[in-house]
């Protein structure tokens, strides 16, 4: 849920509860005030009626309300003496509404010429159900109005206030280390946002610079290693030609040479890897993957033939993509080489090209590999001594550079799938 909606939803829940409590209190207070003023009115009328009754004896005969709002009836002395004024709610038939409606009733007694009379005065009262209905309706209106105002405020004011935050967030979402982009923050009057901005800038600056220096270090190290490696190998090649060496000595030199050559291969791969990561292959052209793989297939024919493998190329369509041609060759050749080296003798390598996919499969005797680890550097099959374990890492780095998806899965065969973005 978005931050703005989140606050709005919180506000609506809290307001619902608050308005509910407030409505109950308001209702009770109002009702109390209404009763108070009705009772006062009744009391006043009582005094007026008693005053008039004392002058006009005819009034004492009113035993029905009829068109008036009071009745007077004589009562005996005993019950009159113990009688106290009291107010109560009752129902009375109303002609206009054609139903019983609540009325407020005051009962009292008075004395005239040693006779006691009971006086009942009524006044019409608020209809509570109508009152509640009106109140509820107003409350809903108020509630909706409040929520709308909050949403409006959130969108107008809060959005403006939170703008630096959202700008930063948007950039962080798209940020990828190694893509050499800078985060641009919006200056703000709010201390917290300024702190966030400076901290994020500092931390990213540090990450970018350590990432760059690490990349640079690998490239420089690999580069500096090349010359001493070349010199050592060349010196051993010269040494091994000397006539006086015996077979045992030649074998020793051969072993050193093999290791140095392994080191050179690994160094070359690392150099290539960091060159790709350092964006040193800017030239791009439309590469025809069918042509590249056909070419590679013939290059690898000897090697595949040596393992009695068949490379079966199935292509239903042309697959072209704009990228560096050298890298395209390296990408496909690493996948093909991997399939040949790790595939079983006397088996078949299947290559499938469709509109958006390049798939290569080889048979295996060791079951599924860990798809998480298969592309990491120096991850290697222990049965192969000469493999550097960087080939698939290089393929993955190239795929990422061009936003292809290179994935591994196992379905009776090891399968590497290269998915193109369009």
């Amino acid at each position: 849920m978005k931050l703005l909606n989140y606050t709005t939803s919180y506000f609506s829940a809290i307001l619902l509860v608050l308005l509910g409590i407030w409505a109950v209190i308001f209702y009770l207070e109002m009702l109390d005030e209404i009763y108070d003023s009705l009772d006062d009115g009744l009391d006043n009328q009582k005094m007026l009626v008693i005053k008039r009754a004392k002058q006009d004896a005819e009034l004492l005969q009113r035993s029905q309300f009829k068109d008036g709002n009071y009745t007077i009836r004589p009562i005996d002395k005993n019950s009159a003496i113990s009688f106290k004024d009291f107010y109560r709610d009752t129902l009375m038939y109303m002609q206009n509404e054609d139903e019983y409606e609540p009325v407020r009733l005051l009962e009292t007694v008075f004395k005239k010429d040693d006779e006691f009379y009971k006086l009942k005065i009524i006044t019409s009262m608020v209809e509570e159900d109508d009152l509640i209905e009106d109140l509820l309706f107003s409350l809903i209106l108020l509630y909706v109005g409040l929520i709308l105002s909050i949403v409006l405020l959130n969108n107008l004011i809060l959005k403006k206030i939170w703008n630096p935050f959202y700008t930063l967030l948007q950039q962080l979402k798209d940020f990828r280390l190694g893509k050499d982009q800078k985060i641009e923050t919006v200056p703000s009057n709010i201390d917290e946002f300024n702190l966030l901005n400076t901290r994020v800038e500092q931390m990213l600056g540090k990450s970018i610079s350590s990432y760059n220096s690490q990349k640079q270090f690998i490239e420089n190290a690999a580069h500096e290693l090349q010359t001493p490696l070349a010199i050592s190998i060349n010196k051993l090649e010269l040494l091994v030609e000397k006539e006086e060496l015996n077979e045992e000595q030649i074998e020793l030199i051969a072993s050193v040479l093999n290791n140095l050559e392994g080191l050179t291969r690994m160094n070359k791969s690392l150099l290539l890897l960091s060159k790709i990561e350092n964006q040193q292959f800017p030239e791009e052209e439309i590469v025809d993957f069918n042509a590249v793989i056909t070419d590679l297939k013939s290059d690898f024919e000897d090697l595949a033939g040596h393992k009695e493998m068949k490379i079966n190329l199935k292509s239903t369509t042309s697959l072209k993509y704009k990228m560096n041609k050298g890298l395209a060759r390296i990408l496909l050749s690493n996948l093909l080489k991997n399939a040949i080296i790790h595939g079983q003798r006397n088996s078949e390598i299947e290559i499938e090209i469709s509109a958006k996919n390049f798939i290569i499969r080889n048979t295996a005797n060791n079951g599924a590999l860990d798809p998480e680890k298969v592309f990491s550097r120096f991850q290697k099959d222990s049965s192969s001594k000469t493999s550097t374990g960087i080939g698939l890492a290089i393929a993955q780095t190239i795929a990422k550079k061009y936003e292809f998806q290179l994935t591994y899965y196992y379905e009776q065969k090891h399968t590497f799938q290269l998915r193109f973005p369009r």
Binding site: H223, Q226, T227, L229, A230, I231, I233, N234, K235, E237, L238, V240, E241, E247, I250, E251, I253, A254, S255, L257, N258, E261, T264, R265, Q280, E283, L296, D299, F300, D302, L303, H306, G326, S333, K337, I340, I341, S384, K385, T386, S387, T388, G391
Partner: protein, 225 residues
């Protein structure tokens, strides 16, 4: 045959010099552009091995000067900067070849010989060793004028060996030369062995008086009987 090596890395220079001396070339060396410029002004070389990163400038500079002065010495650029741009620039400036460090001595030898051949045997482009002859224009090898019927890879292997006759050829040097970088991760010895076995068989049936001898653990040697 006279060769000039322009290289500021002492050990590298010594290696190349030692190796090429064994091929009976006359080898001279220069460690800077200035020194190389002086030597080129006085002598004519059949081939110049030119490093790009030199203390007093870029090897490309010297190459440009050579072309401007119409000096026709063959030039092979030898550089640690293995980038396509450098390679293209070098070849555009008129270098005959471009060799990236690190390289095997046998590869250097083959490149030097190829440059020398191109420059010297105009029209008559043939190599003869014993009763083997290779026609470089026709890409054909024959023993006593009987064609050997080699496939493309076998032909390249044989050609590489003839450039390095009586020298020990490292198996990975051979693999890189013939199959490019592709082979480097494979268990190359066994693979190359089977490739060479076929070539040997063809040479033997044709009655060749050269032989490809295995040197245990390292590689092969082409020897003339």
């Amino acid at each position: 045959m006279k060769i000039l090596i322009v290289e500021d890395e002492q050990d590298m220079l010594q290696n190349m010099k030692d190796f090429l001396l064994k091929e009976n070339f006359v080898v001279e060396t220069a460690e800077s552009i200035a020194e190389a410029r002086n030597k080129i002004g006085v002598y004519t070389y059949d081939c110049i091995l030119l490093d790009i990163n030199l203390k007093d400038g870029s090897g490309f500079q010297l190459l440009e000067e050579l072309k401007r002065k119409n000096i026709e010495d063959g030039v092979i650029i030898v550089s640690a900067r293995n980038s396509l741009d450098d390679r293209l620039e070098g070849l555009n400036l008129g270098a005959d070849d471009y060799l990236a460090k690190p390289f095997h001595m046998a590869e250097l030898n083959a490149r030097v010989k190829a440059v020398l051949r191109r420059r010297q045997f105009n029209g008559n482009n043939k190599i003869k060793i014993g009763n083997l002859s290779i026609d470089l224009d026709e890409h054909e090898a024959s023993i006593d004028d009987n064609p050997l019927n080699l496939n493309r890879k076998e032909y390249e292997i044989l050609l590489f060996f003839t450039s390095n006759q009586n020298r020990l050829v490292n198996k990975s040097a051979l693999a890189e030369h013939v199959w490019g970088d592709h082979i480097d991760q494979a268990d190359s010895f066994e693979f190359i062995y089977s490739q060479i076995k076929n070539l040997r068989k063809k040479l033997k049936t044709a009655g060749a008086d050269i032989e490809i001898k295995a040197v245990y653990g390292i590689g092969y040697k082409l020897i003339t009987q």
